[in-house]
């Protein structure tokens, strides 16, 4: 066990030097590291949100709302298909609980034809390289003289999946507007999105911006309806709908919302927008949002405004009227502006919202963890202080317990810590406050490997072995114990990794890396030191 082949020696020394080089950037402030030439290792360990401050927001996509929307669409498609193919029907209905749309066919002889036509509405889903074709998103069947369309599990999963993907893109565009460094937006499970934004201070604004669905619609105001009256009686004329808008910002507190009676038909939606920017009204100097439609949107908007000059139309965001200006002249260029007594920031946020597009369904925050920058900085300070003190205590104690061999163990311990930081930096892992505690715990574990070895050496010396033989046997015997005891620790830690998120996962990562690193340093690095020390000094007695 004490003889090292040259290549092994080179390998171990190489790893140690690399570890120190890659760990070193963490000692310097970030600003210093930016001046280091790029060919040198310059990656630092990422700090978790609990250490640098920031927001952790877990969003849940509203599955029910999405299913309802889909059933609505299916119902529309069924109606359209049956009309096109001239099949008479009654009782077109949808049921959210069973995820079905059903329709009765008037003539029993038409049922089969209706079935054939409606079956075309089902689209194949799934189909990746591994599972191949997995079925249709709709299951179409006949029951007596009715046709029933059921949303399949595969279809719903597929739709959730694409909705989550779309949400992630949308959220990313919105978060990017804050200009923070390295926000992370990722999918969690079936219907969730985890948003982590380090270093953000105005979390409420972030939440508002992400939380809005961002569905923009233009509708005409019904000029014949008296909005106040209808708002009180709640009797809305057919083809119209009642929506509300905020009172002007100058109005006294407690002013009720303003009702608007609008034509049901949507003129243009936010999907036709190609750009939206905050700017100022040229006449009043008030903050506004200017927007530009794509070709189709511009044509449609131009036509509508041409036909309705002098009448008001409403700009609606997420079923809330932002403003209802009067069309003074046809808007043919496809550009326009939204004014709604905004502040500069509100105009800015609205522009971001419109540019980023709408979310496929409403997102609800189900978990939020926000750490302010000041607490993060305090945590780094206290974590650092506690860890350094712990390290010092351990090193003093090892020196007292094992003398020279304690010194060997201490050198190995420092290399071990360098190794942990090197691996964490290279992995791009995140260091959290519990993670710092994990490193400290690793110190205990790393020391344990050396303690096991040193105790064995003591026993072998007591049994009368020569220094060489005692050290050799000490390492061999202790090895199996070290492996057994570390594997059991790893089992518990791996479970922790699987369980945890954020800080807890950071703890599991550092502990895993630490345990593996400690096995390496204990069985190779200290062995190397001890072997060369024995060879050079040829001691008669082992000072242990």
């Amino acid at each position: 066990m004490l003889h090292f082949q040259t290549w092994k020696l080179v390998l171990v020394l190489g790893i140690v030097i690399a570890a120190i080089l890659y760990a070193l950037p963490n000692v310097f402030p970030r600003a210093t590291m930016e001046q280091v030439p790029t060919w040198l290792p310059h990656k630092q360990v990422n700090l978790g949100l609990d250490l640098q401050g920031g927001a952790h927001l877990l969003y849940q996509l509203d599955e029910k709302e999405m299913t309802d929307d889909w059933l609505n669409t299916i119902r529309g498609d069924v109606r359209e298909t049956l009309r096109r193919t001239r099949i008479g029907y009654t009782d077109l209905s949808q049921d959210a609980a069973s995820r079905t749309v059903s329709v009765k066919i008037r003539e029993p002889g038409d049922v089969d034809r209706a079935y054939q036509e409606l079956r075309k509405l089902a689209a194949p889903v799934g189909g990746n390289v591994f599972s191949g074709f997995s079925g249709y998103d709709l299951d179409v069947s006949t029951k007596d003289n009715a046709v029933v369309l059921t949303v399949t599990d595969a279809g719903l999963t597929h739709r959730m999946s694409s909705a989550i993907q779309a949400s992630i893109e949308t959220i990313r565009r919105r978060v990017d507007a804050f200009g923070t460094t390295e926000p992370s937006i990722q999918r969690e499970g079936r219907s969730r999105v985890l948003v982590q934004v380090p270093g953000i201070s105005d979390v409420e604004r972030l939440k508002t911006l992400i939380g809005e669905t961002g569905k923009l619609e233009f509708k005409l105001v019904d000029p014949s309806a008296n909005a106040e009256q209808i708002a009180q009686s709640k009797v809305v004329p057919p083809g119209d709908e009642l929506l509300y808008g905020n009172p002007p910002s100058g109005a006294p507190k407690g002013t009720p919302q303003i009702p608007y009676v609008l034509r049901n038909q949507v003129l243009v939606t936010g999907q036709n927008l190609v750009d939206a920017q905050p700017s100022f009204d040229q006449r009043t100097g008030e903050p506004v949002v200017t927007f530009r439609f794509d070709a189709a949107g511009a044509t449609r908007f131009g036509k509508v405004t041409q036909e309705n000059v002098g009448l008001p139309f409403a700009i609606i965001l997420d079923n809330k009227v932002i403003s209802a200006p009067v069309i003074r002249e046809p808007i043919l260029g496809g550009t326009g502006q939204i004014s709604g007594h905004f502040t500069v920031q509100e105009a800015n946020d609205l522009a971001v919202l419109l540019r980023s597009g709408a979310l496929p369904a409403k997102l609800t925050v189900i978990e939020e963890r926000t750490v302010g920058a000041s607490l993060g900085a305090d945590s780094i300070e206290s974590g650092k202080k506690a860890a350094l003190m712990g390290l010092a205590l351990v090193m003093i104690f090892m020196l007292a317990g094992y003398g020279l061999f304690g010194l060997f163990a201490n050198v190995a311990l420092l290399i071990n810590i360098a190794l942990i930081f090197a691996v964490l930096s290279l992995m791009g892992a995140t260091l959290t406050l519990p993670g710092i505690a994990g490193i400290v715990l690793t110190i205990g574990i790393a020391v344990d490997a050396n303690v096991l070895i040193n105790e064995r050496i003591r026993e072998e010396i007591r049994a009368g072995k020569s220094p060489f033989a005692a050290v050799d046997a000490g390492y061999s015997r202790a090895l199996i114990t070290i492996i057994d005891s570390n594997v059991t620790t790893l089992i518990a830690v791996l479970v922790l990794f699987w369980l945890g998120s954020g800080p807890v996962r950071g703890f599991a990562v550092t502990l895993t890396v630490g345990v593996l690193a400690s096995m390496f340093t204990a069985v190779t690095v200290t062995r190397l030191m001890v072997a060369y020390w024995l060879r050079w000094t040829r001691p008669q007695l082992i000072p242990i």
Binding site: L375, A387, A400
Partner: protein
């Protein structure tokens, strides 16, 4: 040359397993008393498992006026509100009970911020909705159980079933003992407490495996030694290691108790206790249990390794 201080003299020979009548009583107390504590005093469940809102603020003036904050927050109609000083005189922790829906939960934080104004520094805000809290309870429980099962299988595979059962029983002892500590001091029980429990499980087992390894080795070495004696010899032989390792780990963790900051205090406290109770259970729970369960010697003598004295272990490597 300095040879290091022997904290445990080499010829130490304590009759640990012989004390088992007394230590059984202590172990039983260490298991039952926590259960009574949990039943009577309950656990101070954090928002991770209960849902709710937690806000840590720092006020400009020091000390913060708790009564002023209390009156402002409790007037909001958010149900049960707890307000306490947290670490420093101008640091205050506000805990608000779970709201009926995720939306109301979200709205609650806005209301609090409005009531307290911009003059305070919001150091930390945590909101856990009802969906997540029930999931966290489930995954926390599963984690502890899965870890135990994984360990059971590994120890069974590497040793014998008696070792595995003894290990698991001692781990249950450690876990209940630690949860009892949370109850006794009303420390907040949250996700990092589960992390602490799993770490204690890992650490405590690490310790047991070291003794098991020695027992296995000694079973090969001393074929005629009575099991009681053999267990004692094994514990005594590894005692010096145990003391050194536990003291170093404890020393490493100790500064976190005093300087690690308020957020990690509970974790550090549980870890320090876990080191102590884990060390105790290795000697006084796992070993006497092996005696009761009766370790089969044939299993080791029949192994192909030459079972001659100390050569046995070396030959296996």
């Amino acid at each position: 040359m300095f040879r290091g201080f022997h904290f445990i003299p080499p010829d130490t020979n304590i009759d640990f397993v012989g004390m088992r009548t007394i230590t059984w009583i202590i172990s039983a107390l260490l298991t039952v008393v926590p259960l009574i504590l949990i039943e009577t005093m309950g656990l101070n469940m954090g928002i991770d498992f209960q849902g709710g809102t937690l806000i840590e603020i720092q006020t400009k003036e020091s000390p913060a006026s708790l009564s002023d904050i209390r009156s402002k927050v409790s007037g909001l109609g958010l149900g049960e509100v707890q307000i306490q000083e947290f670490g420093a005189p101008n640091s205050v922790l506000i805990r608000i009970a779970s709201q009926p829906t995720e939306q109301e939960q979200q709205a609650s934080i806005g209301k609090v911020k409005q009531a307290l104004g911009d003059t305070v520094d919001y150091r930390r805000v945590e909101i856990v909705g009802p969906t997540i809290s029930s999931e966290l309870i489930a995954s926390g429980t599963i984690a502890v159980v899965v870890a135990m099962l994984g360990i059971l299988i590994y120890v069974w595979f590497r040793f014998e079933w008696q070792f595995a059962v003894a290990a698991i029983a001692s781990l249950i002892h450690d876990v209940t003992g630690t949860i009892g500590l949370y109850s006794l001091f009303q420390l907040e029980f949250n996700v990092s407490s589960i992390a602490a429990l799993l770490t204690i499980i890992g650490y405590s087992l690490n310790d047991k495996v070291v003794i098991f390894d020695r027992v296995r080795e000694n079973l090969r070495k001393y074929k005629r030694m009575p099991l009681v004696r053999l267990l004692d010899v094994s514990i005594n032989e590894t005692l010096s290691r145990a003391v050194l390792t536990h003291v170093t780990t404890f020393l490493a963790m100790l500064p976190f108790l005093f300087f690690g900051g308020e957020t990690i205090f509970g974790f550090a406290f549980a870890m320090c206790w876990g080191i102590v109770i884990g060390a105790y259970s290795s000697i006084f729970v796992a070993s006497p249990l092996q005696l009761i369960l009766g370790v089969r010697r044939e299993a080791w003598s029949a192994s192909p390794a030459p079972a001659k004295g100390r050569g046995a272990a070396a030959a296996r490597i």
